[in-house]
């Protein structure tokens, strides 16, 4: 019988750990979250591909009925907000917390603009008689975009929290891993939209 004890070499720290904690942006927990969210979006994409294969005509005509300008504006807004987050990180690392807060405030404005545009787009759809029950393409469209909308809300919460922590002096040029975690989550939201926009609005 193996009588391994806790002080045996088996339980020593490995010399080369699989994950180097210094090379994980933010913290490990946020990456569990990010990959979980990306898995959720992956399921939506797989559903899109399967529905597209089974109902090709609906997916060929669907994008033509959507408001391309709204989708484009939301893409521009999300990419810009990601850029603002990246600028905020550089500002904080340069020991300019006030500038970092200003960049993050612009990110929040981007999030708010996204909500307004999405609201107007849904209203425009409803006025044109496009609902979740119209056909399979629009069912996929509403489920995917509304799910993404919820993630923008979570991400905005993370950005608000980062702003409060910078203002409180808890995130500094040297110590700001929590801010990096919130930033990575926001970038993930942008990345998901980078796939959603062409699939729903462009590809026919």
């Amino acid at each position: 019988m193996n009588t391994q004890t806790l002080d045996s070499p088996l339980f020593d720290e490995p010399e080369n750990p699989v994950f180097d904690p210094k090379k994980i942006p933010g913290n490990p927990a946020i990456w569990v979250g990010i990959f979980s969210e990306l898995t959720e979006f992956a399921l939506f994409f797989v559903i899109y591909f399967l529905a597209r294969a089974h109902y090709p005509e609906e997916f060929k005509q669907g994008p033509l009925q959507l408001h391309t300008l709204a989708g484009t504006l939301n893409t521009l807004v999300l990419i810009s907000s990601s850029y603002f987050v990246a600028k905020a990180i550089f500002a904080l690392r340069d020991n300019r917390p006030d500038t970092a807060v200003r960049w993050l405030s612009l990110t929040l404005c981007g999030g708010a603009a996204y909500f307004i545009i999405k609201y107007l787009e849904y209203q425009w759809n409803f006025a044109a008689g496009i609902t979740i029950n119209t056909n399979n393409f629009f069912a996929v469209y509403y489920y995917t975009t509304f799910n993404h909308l919820l993630h923008v809300a979570w991400g905005s919460g993370g950005i608000i929290w980062a702003i409060t922590q910078i203002k409180a002096g808890n995130f500094t040029a040297e110590k700001h891993s929590g801010f990096i975690a919130a930033a990575c989550y926001w970038h993930m939201i942008d990345l998901a939209w980078i796939v959603i926009f062409p699939l729903l609005y462009v590809l026919r």
Partner: protein, 103 residues
């Protein structure tokens, strides 16, 4: 971030990346409004997805220096779905036949 470069200076390259992403998004919008569906258009759209994702991952997220597990998994994700989009565009009937529940 390169530690030998000042943050203010090195953040300037982000401006160019942002501009590039804006141009690619507008290109996508023009394709959506004007181009007729074709293999070339589909390939272009999917190529733009990959490039945009790579730009965000490499420059905005700055994941190049991160754990390779994170970096390569993130990259793989944004290659996988454009490739699937091309395959479904090329072989819709085969995909439908493979995934049909009832005969």
């Amino acid at each position: 971030m390169d530690k030998t470069t000042s943050p203010a200076k090195s953040s300037r390259h982000l401006d160019m990346i942002w501009l590039l992403l804006m141009v690619m998004t507008i290109t996508n919008a023009v394709i959506a409004e004007q181009a007729e569906p074709s293999l070339l258009v589909t390939l272009t759209i999917c190529w733009i997805i990959v490039i945009k994702a790579r730009l965000v991952i490499d420059h905005f997220m700055d994941l190049k220096g991160a754990s390779p597990y994170i970096y390569y998994l993130m990259n793989a994700y944004f290659y996988l779905f454009p490739i699937l989009a091309i395959l479904v565009w090329l072989f819709p009937e085969q995909v439908a036949n493979l995934t049909r529940i009832s005969s």
